[in-house]
C-alpha cells in the first residue's frame, strides 16, 4: 500500500514552461544593414553576438568557436539580401549557426582523419569558468555528447527556444525534436551519474 502523503507534493520535480523569445520587428535593422550602414550592422552584431558565440562554443568547443562565429556573422551580413523574412531573423541566424557549427565539426573530423592538422592530440575544450561545480560537470558532459544532441540541448534548454523553433532551425519534425531532446537529456543523466539534483 502506497502512502500518498509521502513524498510531499513539493518534493516532486515541477513542470515549467518557457516563454518563447518574442519576435521583434527587425525589418528596419535588416534594411539598414542591407544598405551597408555601419551602425546598424554593429547593432545587429551586438544583439546576437552572445547567442551565436555561445552556441558555437558549446557545439564545437572553445578552440574553434571564434572561427565559426566569424563565419556565421559574415554569412548573415552577406546573406541578408536573400533573407525573405519567412522566419524570424533570430531563427534564421540560429539556423546558420547550427549549420556552420555542424559543418565545421564534419570538416574537423575529416581533417583529423587524414591527420594534416597537427591538433589531433589536443585535449577536449576546457570548460570555461562556472559559478558552480554542477555547471562545470554539465559543460564537461556536454562536450562528450554527439553533436546533434548538443545542438538540441543548446537550442531548447540553454537558449530557451520552443520545440517549434528548434524544429524550424534543425529542419526536422517537432516530434523528432522532442525525442532528440529526451535522448539527449537521458544521455546527459548517464554521463553525470545518479543524484544530479538534491536528494529528498
Amino acid at each position: 500500500m502506497t502512502d500518498l502523503a509521502e513524498p510531499a507534493p513539493a518534493a516532486l520535480a515541477e513542470p515549467r514552461t518557457r516563454v518563447s523569445a518574442t519576435l521583434a520587428d527587425d525589418a528596419h535593422l535588416i534594411a539598414a544593414c542591407r544598405r551597408g550602414e555601419a551602425r546598424a550592422m554593429e547593432m545587429l552584431y551586438h544583439q546576437y553576438k552572445r547567442r551565436v558565440f555561445g552556441m558555437a562554443h558549446r557545439i564545437v568547443g572553445g578552440s574553434d568557436a571564434e572561427e565559426v562565429a566569424q563565419e556565421v556573422f559574415v554569412r548573415v551580413f552577406r546573406g541578408l539580401a536573400s533573407f525573405r523574412g519567412d522566419s524570424a531573423l533570430s531563427t534564421w541566424i540560429y539556423r546558420l549557426t547550427v549549420n556552420a557549427a555542424l559543418s565545421h565539426l564534419a570538416r574537423r573530423g575529416r581533417r583529423q582523419e587524414i591527420g594534416d592538422d597537427g591538433l589531433t592530440e589536443l585535449p577536449a575544450p576546457q570548460p570555461a569558468e562556472r559559478d558552480s561545480a554542477l555547471a562545470a560537470r554539465i559543460e564537461t558532459a556536454m562536450a562528450q555528447l554527439p553533436a546533434g544532441y548538443r545542438a538540441i540541448l543548446v537550442l531548447h534548454d540553454i537558449e530557451g527556444l520552443s520545440h517549434e523553433e528548434c524544429a524550424a532551425i534543425l529542419d526536422c519534425r517537432i516530434g523528432t525534436c522532442k525525442s532528440q531532446l529526451h535522448k539527449a537529456r537521458a544521455r546527459m543523466r548517464e554521463l553525470l551519474g545518479p543524484n544530479i539534483g538534491p536528494t529528498p
Binding site: 502506497t2 500518498l4 513524498p7 516532486l12 520535480a13 515541477e14 513542470p15 515549467r16 514552461t17 518557457r18 554593429e42 552584431y45 553576438k49 552572445r50 551565436v52 558565440f53 555561445g54 562554443h57 578552440s63 574553434d64 568557436a65 571564434e66 572561427e67 562565429a69 566569424q70 556573422f73 559574415v74 552577406r78 536573400s82 525573405r84 592538422d117 597537427g118 591538433l119 589536443l122 576546457q126 570555461a128 569558468e129 562556472r130 559559478d131 558552480s132 554542477l134 555547471a135 554539465i138 540541448l153 534548454d157 540553454i158 530557451g160 522532442k178 531532446l181 529526451h182 537529456r185 546527459m188 543523466r189 553525470l192 545518479p194 543524484n195 544530479i196 539534483g197 538534491p198 529528498p200
Partner: protein, 256 residues
C-alpha cells in the same frame, strides 16, 4: 511493458510543462508512487534547471574586428569580379530565395536555346566577315601639324598615392597582424606561468612543459595562417587555464 517503461519516455515532456490534464495527472500519480522514477524526474529537472542557468559565454573582443575584416575582403573581391559574374550570383541568389530548382526539362530547353544561340552567332560571324580580298587596308595616318613652340611641356605622369579608403593593403596584412598579436599574448602568458610555476610540483612542471612543447609544435607544423592562429589560440587557452587554476588553488588555500 511496466508502468515505469511507459512513464519514463514522457518525463521530458512532463517536466517541460507539455503534458496537461489527464496525461500529466497520470505521470504525477506514478511519480508519487515510484521512488525510482521520482529520482529520475528529480535528476532531469535539476539538469534542465542547471542548463538554463549556465552562464553565457562572452565572445572575444577580436570577433567583431575579424567579421569586419572578412566582410571588407569579400567586398573587395566582389568589386574585382567581372560584371557577368556579379549578375550570375544575383540570379543565383534570386533563384535560391524563390526556392526555384530547374527541372530536367527546363535544363534541356535552356541547353537547346544556348546551343542555337551559339550556332546563330557563329554563322553570322562567317557571313558578316568580308572575303580576304576585300579586307580593308590600313590607311596611313594623316600628318598632324607640329605642336606650337609656345606650348607648355606635357606634365610628367606621377603615380597617384593610394586612396585612404583603399583597405586592400590593410586586409592583406591582417592575418600577419593577428598572428603577431597572438604570439605576444602567448609570451605574456608564458611569463605569468613562469612566475607561478615555482609553486608547482615537479610532476606538474613536467606535464606543463610537455603540453606546451606539443602545442608549440602544433603551431610550427600548422601551414596556413588560420591554422596557425587556431593552434595559437589552443596554446593561449591552455596557458590561461594553467594560470587560472593556479590562482584558484592559491585562493582556496590548497597546494598543487
Amino acid at each position: 511493458m511496466t508502468m515505469c517503461e511507459k512513464i519514463r519516455p514522457q518525463l521530458t515532456a512532463y517536466l517541460d510543462g507539455e503534458l496537461a490534464d489527464d496525461p500529466g495527472s497520470v505521470v504525477r500519480g506514478h511519480l508519487r508512487e515510484c521512488a525510482a522514477c521520482r529520482q529520475i524526474a528529480r535528476d532531469e529537472a535539476a539538469l534542465r534547471d542547471a542548463l538554463r542557468m549556465l552562464a553565457p559565454v562572452d565572445p572575444p573582443a577580436s570577433l567583431w574586428a575579424g567579421v569586419r575584416g572578412q566582410l571588407a575582403a569579400a567586398e573587395v573581391a566582389d568589386a574585382r569580379k567581372p560584371r557577368w559574374r556579379r549578375h550570375a550570383a544575383r540570379w543565383g541568389r534570386w533563384a535560391r530565395s524563390m526556392r526555384w530548382v530547374p527541372t530536367m526539362r527546363q535544363l534541356a530547353t535552356a541547353s537547346l536555346v544556348a546551343a542555337a544561340a551559339i550556332a546563330v552567332f557563329t554563322w553570322r560571324g562567317q557571313v558578316g566577315n568580308p572575303p580576304p580580298d576585300r579586307i580593308a587596308q590600313p590607311q596611313p595616318e594623316p600628318q598632324r601639324p607640329p605642336p606650337p613652340q609656345h606650348a607648355l611641356p606635357a606634365p610628367a605622369i606621377v603615380p597617384s598615392p593610394p586612396s585612404a579608403d583603399d583597405v586592400t593593403a590593410d586586409l592583406i596584412a591582417e592575418p600577419a597582424r593577428t598572428t603577431a598579436t597572438y604570439a605576444r599574448a602567448i609570451e605574456e602568458l608564458m611569463t605569468v606561468a613562469e612566475e607561478t610555476r615555482a609553486r608547482w610540483s615537479d610532476g606538474d612542471k613536467a606535464a606543463f612543459d610537455a603540453h606546451i612543447a606539443g602545442l608549440r609544435d602544433a603551431i610550427t607544423r600548422a601551414g596556413p595562417p588560420r591554422a596557425v592562429q587556431r593552434a595559437q589560440r589552443s596554446l593561449i587557452r591552455y596557458l590561461q587555464g594553467a594560470v587560472v587554476r593556479d590562482d584558484v588553488m592559491l585562493a582556496s588555500g590548497g597546494t598543487r
